[in-house]
């Protein structure tokens, strides 16, 4: 059995909403191992985002326990959680969340500012990550000068720059067209092949099929946890492009 990255034990999250007591997560016990590519699925309100916030150390559970790299997160202060996020987790968001009017390089550098990485080393690492996602020639471009797909790749480079134990991608293709979405999934699959642990939150089963394990949430409960042979994003991308060529020819 490979090394455990995240483990939740009887995880619960309760909200008080308009006088109503809401159980957003009910008794979730899950283990995510090193090198897993997990898709978290479910309709909106199923608790998948809440689950992601929990393991992403963005929110504290109401009950139960989360272990990240063997470290319990339950009792940590906001400042300590920020340190944990910086060290172990790389976020990719649906809306990219890049800093406007800031170069791609400086955007990727951001997490390194918060752990006092020496300036030169930080630059070198950020540059390497941008090269890895295929944007080595666009270091000085600002988000407004980049396409949606390129912006998301900058965001992925930013998630990678601290070499985190876990990459959390929340609907990373949600704001992209099919082709660029596939390109992003192709990139995530490449990272998975290089040994990264990835948790992907999505409500699209096509996208979830690129992961090797699917968790299905409904009404705050985990209703299915299965492994599958992932579809290849590269293959689908090639197919799509072929079709496009034909359409143009016709």
């Amino acid at each position: 059995m490979s090394h455990t990255v995240v483990e939740t034990k009887a995880l619960e999250k309760h909200y008080q909403m308009g006088g109503q007591h809401l159980r957003a997560l009910k008794d979730i016990s899950i283990r995510i191992a090193q090198g897993d590519f997990v898709a978290v699925m479910g309709p909106s309100g199923s608790g998948k985002s809440t689950f992601m916030n929990m393991i992403g150390c963005l929110d504290a559970p109401s009950r139960g326990q989360i272990l990240l790299q063997g470290e319990a997160l339950t009792q940590l202060s906001a400042a300590a959680l920020a340190k944990v996020r910086n060290k172990y987790i790389g976020f990719v968001f649906q809306q990219f969340n890049l800093l406007p009017r800031t170069s791609a390089l400086d955007n990727v550098l951001l997490p390194l500012l918060y752990n006092n990485t020496p300036r030169d080393e930080a630059r070198a690492r950020a540059q390497a990550c941008l090269q890895l996602v295929g944007l080595g020639d666009r270091l000085d471009h600002q988000p407004s000068q980049l396409s949606g797909g390129q912006q998301q790749r900058v965001a992925i480079a930013r998630a990678l720059v601290n070499d985190p134990a876990l990459i959390l991608a929340d609907e990373p293709t949600g704001a992209l067209d099919t082709e660029t979405g596939l390109e992003v999934m192709q990139l995530l699959q490449q990272l998975h092949q290089q040994g990264k642990t990835i948790v992907l939150v999505t409500h699209e089963s096509d996208i979830a099929a690129f992961a090797s394990r699917q968790l299905l949430f409904k009404d705050g409960s985990l209703i299915s946890d299965r492994s599958s042979i992932p579809h290849s994003a590269s293959a689908e991308l090639a197919l799509l492009r072929q079709q496009r060529m034909k359409e143009v020819a016709v």
Partner: protein, 409 residues
Amino acid sequence: MNSLTLLQVAWVALRVNLLRSILTMLGIIIGVAAVIIMLALGAGARYDVDQQIKSLGGNVFVVFARGRFMGGAREASGSSQGLTEMDAQAIEQQIPEVNVAAPTLRASGQLIYGNLNWAPEIHGVDNKIYTAQSWELAEGRSFSDTELASAGRVAVIGQTVKRELFGAADALGQTVRVNKMPVTIIGVLKGKGQNTQGNDQDDLIFMPLDTVRKRIAGMTLSSPKAVRSIIVQVTDERDMAIVEQQLDSLLRQRLRISDNQSGFSIRNLAEMVETRSQTMQIFNGLLAAVASVSLLVGGIGIMNIMLVSVTERTREIGLRMAVGAEPRIILKQFLVEAVLLCAMGGLIGLTLAVAVSLGLEYFAGFTAIIQPQVVVMSLGFSCLIGVFFGYYPATKAARMQPIEALRFE
């Protein structure tokens, strides 16, 4: 995150919204500039007053003979037993703190030289006047003992008189007529310029006391040695109060005036100038206070914009927190932004104030002095405004929950 990085991040954030940053700074710029200019003008006015006091002598009393009350009726100035040269001698000899006591007389008359005429103040003096009023000779000499004792027909003139009657020509040895009497010019005084009331101090002519008394004034004086006033210079300025008391009792005794009668007045010129300048100081202080209100308003402007900025950048804050910024660092970041904004505003305001002060000095003839402590204080104060008005918005930013901030639309 070290402080240099914090400063860089803040700088970038301010540069991104350049126009807004400048407009926000404007409040601080104007406030700081106004405060510094007001204080500079105040200090300048103060300096002018000090200069004037120095030229008058901060350590000088002028004693005037005054009409006194006799059986309820006030008699005219100089009409009865007045001051004499002997009183001046007595003051100098009997009050050890007094350096010099110079008796003076005033007369009016016209000077005629060739076809020119001029009517300066005519002063009857002896050579003590040079010390008592800090006069210096530009050329020539002062009166000899013989000239003083024999009512010599000689005179020392001020720069204005020289200019009006002789122009660029040599005045020494020339004879002018004063009320028809020929008088030889033996000396010319160095110029003092205008005093703060704008009176020309160089428009005068000195002649020996006796000459003025006997040959020009033709006054009917109660004593052959009568004088109009005595200028008393005190050695040490700190002894002014003691000397004033001693002068009073000595003169009462010599002039035989009882305590409840008045027969002379002792005036401290510096004090008179001081009193006048105090009004100005109060006025200036008031203006500076108004100016500092604008600084306060500028500070509120900073808070306003910082609050807008925090709300506008909620997602950025969420992201920074997600990638590892501790609340403390977010707090610092926004505080540094506010302080940077204020500090830059302060610096620009200072530059503006220097420019305006120089302009006022050059074009409007004001004296403006920017004191170093005012510079330090106003810059320090603008930074303090940054901290004070930046703190609340920064706390608001630091208290955000990362998930909610990230979802903010």
